[in-house]
Symmetry: C2
Subunit: 591 residues, 2 copies
């Protein structure tokens, strides 16, 4: 069975030596000093290793069951959920006003990574709740907040997001679910929603559905959409649970992975719903939830890869097969451990250099969110808005590739379910699809985010990269980072230029290159992160750090990323510059 | 449920307009004219669409069962297997002497693609038999041939390959299974073999295991290995079945995919075995079987991708979501079919251009085998030996990527098992692993095949590419093919040069780049195929072909491959030229 140990040392490095959180002046960041974060991360790691990870494989094999309209989760999940609640983990970065601990978002992300690595399907029950809380916090009335949030923050009640219907996922303007206004100000919701993660289960007393539906008078398409709270059990005035609402589980889907999370068909038959925010502004309100959810999914991308990587490393050190061509390493055994083989190392280095880069990128994104929310920093807000599709799309694609590589290290044993490596691949696959398939992320990036606020944020990003390169002028040790980063950044700018010059005449010229642009930008972002990490590592070594091996490995891993991954940028640029013609040339009938 | 239609038109194009089989002068190729191959492929396509494809999803869900030592296959498999036998499909390219039809290998490959696309797990029962027959044909005594081959060619008996043991897969020198010589010339085989595909089942009367084992006196490592036939039921002198042999199924594995093929743990407890070929030369003999098996796996890579692609196209034409940014295409509906979106087209074009290129590459490889076997053409033999790891490694990696992309076209529906797209991804995954994991293919290519016969074959390949480019000198219509092919071929040569200059001093400098070299070479091979196909298409158009749309689509698809896929070559070269340092820098303890 796969094992998992939280990479707390690497997390500490990113928090305190790269982001330097306590020096950053963000409200509340003074609290999260080295000792404090160490205590939190170690504790989360303990729960993850001892309680959550051991349920990952068994949860996958057992899956969820629907019997008599009730969904049950795999054995052990209920007790684990209680342990999670007792630790107050869900409320970590939620407002103290509603029972949370009010810690920064960046802490929520670090702890989130640990939980996802240990058991992605399990963590989704709290992850979805977290997203739903975000939308309620941002848009609901004080009354609704007071009714729902305390119980959701404590996770006595969990939350869901209900967007997709059988005939519409990406294109929410097609939604058919209806909301009929009632005299008491509530609505009756009728329709069918599908792919509802954590739609029902036996872990909580109540499930609070956030549902997109069309109320009369809103007009066509997405304009007519509003957002509603629809609880599984109605809540009485005293806060206790009342009657069962008119919402039920039609089915749970059999999926490729995340078996332990119930993906439900939800049927709303005149269920009582309560409007969140303004009528007919549901899309905007839902996006609050979605943007945060997208960052969470981007985090899943590398978090699952981390768990897979740890096991691939252990296997590569343990499995004896073949000999080191440069000289026998294990003369007492019949063969050397496979980690001696360059191609096995290549696979491990691909994984390691991606994961550590993605961790820094994700924590930096979380830090931007804290800046935006805690300091009202509009530039940080613009930057994270630009980065969100990259974090989601790039990291989940690469995370999946990474999990596939970890599985490959196991050879034939990787294909056998009992080893658990197949599960990482199957689980990681969903992150490329949900919360907006990755093609939609690319569209969001190129079609919307690049031009947002007159292109101000992408220009700011280019300036940031330039300044980073400039800062290391004359530092020979940083050359292996700065030179490839400069090149990649220029390629990204050139791609943006191509879109500007061609996209006006023919929008398809930009759209045909959107996916490659997202990946090109992902590499530039990870290149930037590696440059910062390398600098931090050199600084630590210069200061005589107690653990030089850690910092030397960090620099070597970064050099690998720059040398072996950044060459992908030229490929993406070449594809982009080939324009729309190759992509659009074929008649539909010729496919 | 996914549907499948055999791409017979494209197969005919490759056979008759690209390879021009009847003009090639290979013995027996005069028979396989257009009408004949059309009849065979249509008939195979019918069986595939009507009998095999409908069992693909149900076979996956039901899987195989082991009860009381007996393995049963999913519902419908037995009847389908009888239909396959009645059609004589297994014996298609096997010698008439033993009941086969004696058709060229290239026909076997074309029919094989159809069967694999329709139902990969099902086809493995005959595929393994085919491989086992190959080894027996090449190395066994006349007596063994006469005893086993007629029943295997008719598939009353099926075959297996037994190499892997719990502690060794790649490194067969570690094998522990023992063969003790008996007075009657037979051997008693004792040991455990794992991951035995089609190891047991209810489709045939007998299973003929080809087993690697160590007989006394052969020395250490692979030198001591011999190859044995170990039948499930011993065969009496009159050819009827006798006693059960001492071989049994210990377990069937739960796998990520190919659920309908039984992957068995086989226990040999003093089972009676019969030596195939010379004692202690088992590795060489097994490789006969493995090389053919590797080509078969390379074929699986794109054949599964083809089935996935067909369904992705159908979904993209059917699913309505969003609007064409250049103008509404389906004003009567609420949205346009998603095939209008450039990023969906990109995914479909990636798949289509890979699959058609891989088909040409595979058929060309099969044609080389025919040249080698039927004409004793040593150059063809050397060339296919060089190409085998590329066909296996590159095509299965890309085939998996392609299946993942087809699944992505389905969005959330692609993750739900009932749609069948997840199965294509899960099934395609194994092809990257078995018959030598793809890292081993890369090692075989760079560590062995490049230098084989003094590098003669790779030089011949470079000359072939050069001649192809030269042949189109001055033909402007071919520029979009010739220029990228030239560039890519130079990059491949440069990579080879890097290995020569650095690999002698440090073998890891070559091995660290082996995987990238395999992919770089795969792209050059597909670039060569697309150049040839484009020329054939232009020739057909010049000659006033009745179906110009087919040829125009062929050219457009090829242009896509050259413009959007060949830029990967520069990336692979850059990685290769970064050498061993980035890959090997880390201390083992730092992973």
């Amino acid at each position: 069975m796969p094992a998992y140990t939280a990479p707390t040392k690497d997390m500490q490095f990113v928090l305190h030596e790269v982001l330097k959180v306590t020096e950053s002046g963000v409200k509340g960041y003074d609290e999260i000093d080295r000792d404090f974060t160490s205590a939190v991360l170690e504790e989360a790691g303990k729960l993850a290793s001892e309680v959550l990870a051991p349920l990952n494989l068994s949860g996958d094999r057992e899956g969820c069951r629907l019997e008599n309209g009730m969904v049950s989760t795999p054995k052990g999940f209920k007790a684990a959920f209680e342990a999670l609640k007792e630790g107050g983990w869900n409320g970590l970065d939620l407002p103290e006003e509603f029972g949370g601990q009010g810690l920064p978002y960046v802490m929520g992300s670090a702890v989130g990574e640990i939980m996802v690595s240990a058991n992605m399907a399990f963590n989704m029950y709290q992850g979805l709740t977290h997203g739903a809380i975000g939308a309620i916090l941002a848009h609901a009335s004080q009354e609704l907040k007071e009714t729902y949030l305390p119980k959701m923050v404590s996770m006595d009640w969990t939350g869901t997001m209900n967007l997709t219907e059988p005939h519409c996922g990406t294109d929410l303007g097609l939604i058919r679910t209806k909301a009929e206004p009632q005299d008491d100000g509530s609505y009756l919701i009728t329709g069918q929603k599908i792919f509802i993660s954590a739609g029902d289960h036996d872990l909580a007393e109540n499930v609070i559905h956030l549902v997109l539906a069309k109320a009369p008078g809103g007009g066509e398409g997405t304009r007519g959409i509003s957002l509603f709270i629809v609880p599984k059990f109605l809540v009485k005035e005293d806060g206790s649970l009342g009657a069962r609402n008119g919402v039920s589980v039609g089915n749970i889907e059999e999926k490729m992975g995340i078996h332990a999370n119930a993906t439900c068909v939800m049927n709303y038959d005149g269920a009582r719903g309560f409007l969140v925010g303004e009528l007919h502004k549901g899309m905007r309100n839902m996006f609050t939830m979605m943007n945060e959810a997208r960052l969470g999914v981007g985090l899943q991308g590398y978090a699952v890869a981390e768990a897979a990587y740890q096991n691939a490393v252990a296997y590569a050190k343990d499995r004896l097969q073949g000999r080191d061509v440069t000289g026998t390493r294990n003369p007492g055994g019949g063969a050397d451990p496979i980690i001696v083989h360059p191609d096995v190392r290549r696979m491990l280095m691909d994984q390691k250099s991606f994961i550590e880069g993605a961790r820094a990128f994700t924590f930096w994104g979380a830090h931007l969110i804290d800046r935006a929310h805690r300091e009202g920093d509009a530039e940080a807000e613009g930057l994270i808005s630009l980065m969100t599709p990259v974090i989601k799309g790039f990291q989940t694609d690469k995370g999946f590739e990474s999990a596939v590589q970890a599985q490959q290290v196991y050879g034939g044993h990787g294909y056998i379910e009992e080893q658990g490596m197949s599960q990482f691949t199957r689980d990681a696959r969903i992150a490329m699809i949900y919360e907006g398939a990755n093609g939609i992320q690319a569209l969001d990036l190129v079609g919307r985010k690049l031009a947002q606020d007159g292109g101000k944020h992408v220009m700011a990003f280019f300036e940031m990269v330039k300044a980073e390169c400039k800062a290391h002028n004359g530092d020979d040790r940083m050359k292996a980072f700065v030179e490839p980063l400069k090149t990649a950044s220029k390629q990204l700018q050139q791609a943006g230029m191509f879109f500007m010059q061609n996209g006006m005449k023919n929008p398809n010229a930009a759209l045909a290159g959107s996916y490659d642009f997202m990946h090109l930008m992902g590499h530039v972002c990870l290149g930037l992160m590696w440059t910062r990490m390398a600098k931090a590592a050199h600084d630590a070594l210069d200061a005589g750090a107690a653990d030089p091996a850690f910092y030397e490995a960090k620099i070597a891993t970064g050099r690998y990323y720059m040398a072996r991954q950044l060459p992908a940028c030229a490929m993406h640029l070449a594809r982009i510059e080939s324009g729309a013609d190759p992509v659009m040339a074929l008649e539909e009938a010729s496919f």
